[in-house]
Amino acid sequence: MDEIILSIIQMSFIVLSAPLAVGIVKKCKAFFQGRVGASIFLPYHSIATLFAKETLVSRTASYVYHIVPVFVFSLTIGVAFYVPIIMSTSAFSGMGSFFALAGLFMLSSVLLVLGGLDTGGVFGGMASSREMTIASLVEPAVLLSFGAIVLHSNEMSDSISTVGVAIWSSPSLALATLALVFVALAENARFPVDNPATHLELTMVHEGMILEYSGRQLALLEWASAMKLTIFAVIIANVVWPFGLIFAPLTVLNVTSAMIIALFKIAVVMFLLALLESTIAKMRFYRMQEYLSTAAMLGLSALIITLL
């Protein structure tokens, strides 16, 4: 029972802290660019504003267009529910293998692609085509790097748990973590793969797919992508620094301290992300396969070393 409560606590934590993560990365980027930047709480306000706004839908949109935001949001909530992020194990870890985790993220990518294509808009189609190219290259790297981490933590199961895994304990994990960082940047449409702040219509990937959405549908999509970013940030932070996860017994102090530590981890990862995004140029689109095959090779090496 405790474990179910814990899952609910973790899910709520991810849902509520996600906009803050986006706020922090924007604030840090502003700092690196010599600007003051908006409040780190602005994304909460933006999402609230979007929920209050009118939702305009293209006349050519089918039911696919309408279900995409709800599905993408729900899938991300699902991941936040069962994958151990701020807790040590999960009540549902048995059903949540790393294949399922990679699959759920892939499924939400596919749904976004369908949503981008549905209205027949040019930029949606162009972005969807790019997203499929990237997704097909990301997928092997995701599986390989998660695989290496899982093998390390738990020989008997294929579920993700970051307990007992520390990058310091094995060199192979350093490779797996690096692969995971590469993958996380691609999955979350960040530099050097995509530019989350771009409004150059010809270069958009993630922004292109959600271009037609407005109002509460857009709010759900923005929120889901913030949650995805937060989940990846905490997983990576946990591998590098597996500290502050919630163990039994479930006490208020235990939970509170775990949350504070997780927030700290999020802030550190977002700071590093902002640093990266401010100091490099976006990669030429046709170089993407080199970047992502590097990630896949790193993941594969990690897996082989772990198995040896």
Partner: protein, 525 residues
């Protein structure tokens, strides 16, 4: 290289060439006109610098077609070859059949005057959009500037590429950023661009029509606003044309201040472009945020010197509106030197990034042959190995007094154009120091005196803006402008897009676009 006189002797020894104030004029009947212009350009190496029409209904019931040719040799005269076509049947054999550089000029003539260049391969509309009725010729004298046109729907066919997997991407005229309107039609296979056709002319202001009948001074504010980021260069080209037409000679110190202002404008806008290509084009946010902050310092300097942020309002026919004090000049030099030094550091950060260089190298390559055929100007030409800079080829004003080091690159890609801007920053910094010295030159005061001014004349003015060469031709009768043509470099360089983009991928197009940074407003009078 042969100068104009030698060329003309070879071409037609007995032709009726008149020399009016240093401009050679050669009137010809329509059939000979085209053949001779084509020969002058393709056989004798002259460059078609400007082509325009005039409505001479008051004098001889004809329309005039004029081509301004230059040898690009310093101190050589301009050659204006003209023809006249009858108003009932305004036709002449097209130049575009042989000369790519006449392509847009002839479409412009067709739209604005209804003059038909026979044999032109693509006489679709250029300036007019679908909503302008057939038979609207705004630059004819019988067309009132405030005429209300009925809304029409004339088809404007865009080219289509057919085939499996070919995707057509229409972009604009309304864009996601705060930029001028332009419509681009890409045909792509995957991400690779196969063809690109642009449709511009969404910002027609009617400047050419509006300034007819105004005195040169009344027309100046219109000229300064043709393209806001090159106000100083436009006004310099215009006042030179007016001064040539009316035989006014400004003082040496005002020449120096004019050149000083145009170089300041060049520094401001090159800083902008380096930041814009480096930061906004590649997503390297640090470069743009730092660069734009440095550009702001230059714009505030303009506000302090000129009373506005656009280096505007200083250059007027006959001279300048006010003289700078030595303190102001020293202050300006200090600010500019530190701005350029800071921008060099920012550019170094960009160039030391592998990922950044990789985006710019070999992207958006403009072949030298293409650049020559279209008569490319400015950075586009100099980045592709063509030495074309009015300050060196046709020196004017204070540039006659200095030795120019024109930087040039041969690669023709975005990297070449990026690096050229950095080179030119250094050169402009050297020039403003020289011009600052010359502002003290009081050898000759301005000859501007109201009684001395002629009231009729024809003049050509030239200035190298930061975008490239501006040519202005002005006809003045009874003290007011009869016809004034302003040829912004963007009018020529926009034509290069269809040649530069194919082969590149769609996500690199914004970078190609920023590397030329052309003016929509300057193209569309």
């Amino acid at each position: 290289m042969k100068n104009i006189t030698t060329v003309l002797e070879v071409l037609s020894p007995g032709a009726h060439i008149t020399n009016v104030d240093g401009v050679l004029r050669l009137p010809l009947p329509p059939l000979e006109f085209s053949a001779i212009v084509i020969a002058l350009v393709s056989k004798h190496g002259l460059r078609l610098a400007l082509m325009y029409g005039t409505d001479d209904s008051k004098t001889n019931q004809m329309y005039g077609v004029h081509v301004v040719l230059t040898s690009d040799i310093p101190e050589d005269s301009w050659l204006v070859v003209s023809t006249a076509v009858v108003m009932d049947n305004p036709t002449y054999p097209s130049l575009t059949t042989q000369l790519m550089s006449a392509y847009w000029y002839e479409r412009y003539l067709h739209d604005m005057f209804g003059i038909i260049p026979e044999g032109h391969p693509d006489l679709r509309r250029l300036v007019h959009h679908e909503n302008i009725p057939e038979g609207t010729y705004p630059l004819r004298k019988d067309f009132a500037w405030n005429a209300k046109l009925p809304v029409a729907n004339v088809p404007f066919p865009m080219p289509h590429v057919a085939g499996e997997g070919i995707f057509e991407i229409p972009v604009g005229p309304i864009h996601a950023g705060i930029i001028e309107p332009g419509h681009f039609r890409f045909s792509v296979a995957g991400e690779r661009i196969i063809t690109l056709e642009g449709k511009l002319f969404f910002t027609h202001k009617g400047v050419e029509k509006l300034i007819e009948g105004k005195t040169p001074l009344e027309a100046l504010p219109f000229i300064e606003r043709i393209s806001g980021d090159m106000s100083a260069a436009h006004s310099l080209a215009y006042v030179s044309a007016v001064e040539n037409a009316l035989d006014v000679v400004p003082s040496n110190s005002s020449h120096a201040i004019r050149a000083f202002l145009v170089e300041m404008e060049r520094i401001t806008m090159h800083i902008h472009d380096i930041a814009n290509i480096g930061g906004m084009g590649t997503g390297f946010a640090l470069i743009s945020s730092r660069g734009f902050a440095i550009k702001e310092r230059m714009m505030r300097l303009s506000a302090a010197l000129c009373g506005n942020r656009f280096w505007r309002g200083m250059i007027i026919p006959g001279g300048i509106t006010r003289v700078f004090t030595q303190d102001e000049i020293i202050h300006a030099l200090e600010i500019t030197t530190s701005a350029v030094a800071d921008m060099m550091r920012v550019a170094d950060i960009a160039l030391s990034s592998e990922a950044f260089r990789e985006r710019l190298d070999t992207t958006g390559t403009l072949q030298k042959e293409t650049a020559l055929a279209y008569g490319a100007l400015g950075i586009a030409a100099r980045g592709s190995g063509i030495l074309r800079d009015a300050r060196a080829n046709n020196p004017y004003g204070a540039y006659k007094e200095v030795i120019m080091n024109i930087p040039i690159r041969v690669e023709g890609d975005i990297m070449a154009r990026f690096a050229l801007r950095i080179d030119e920053l250094k050169e402009s910094l050297r020039l403003i120091a020289l011009f600052a010295e010359q502002t003290r030159d009081t050898r000759k005061s301005s000859s501007l005196g109201v009684d001395k001014i002629r009231s009729d004349g024809f003049g050509i003015g030239i200035a190298e803006s930061w975008r490239g060469e501006i040519v202005v031709a002005v006809h003045i009768t009874h003290g007011v402008i009869e016809r004034c043509v302003v040829r912004d470099p963007s009018f020529i360089n926009w034509q290069l897009f269809g040649e530069l983009a194919p082969g590149n991928i769609i996500p690199d197009f914004p970078l190609c676009n920023k590397s030329l940074n052309l003016s929509y407003s300057g193209t569309d009078m």
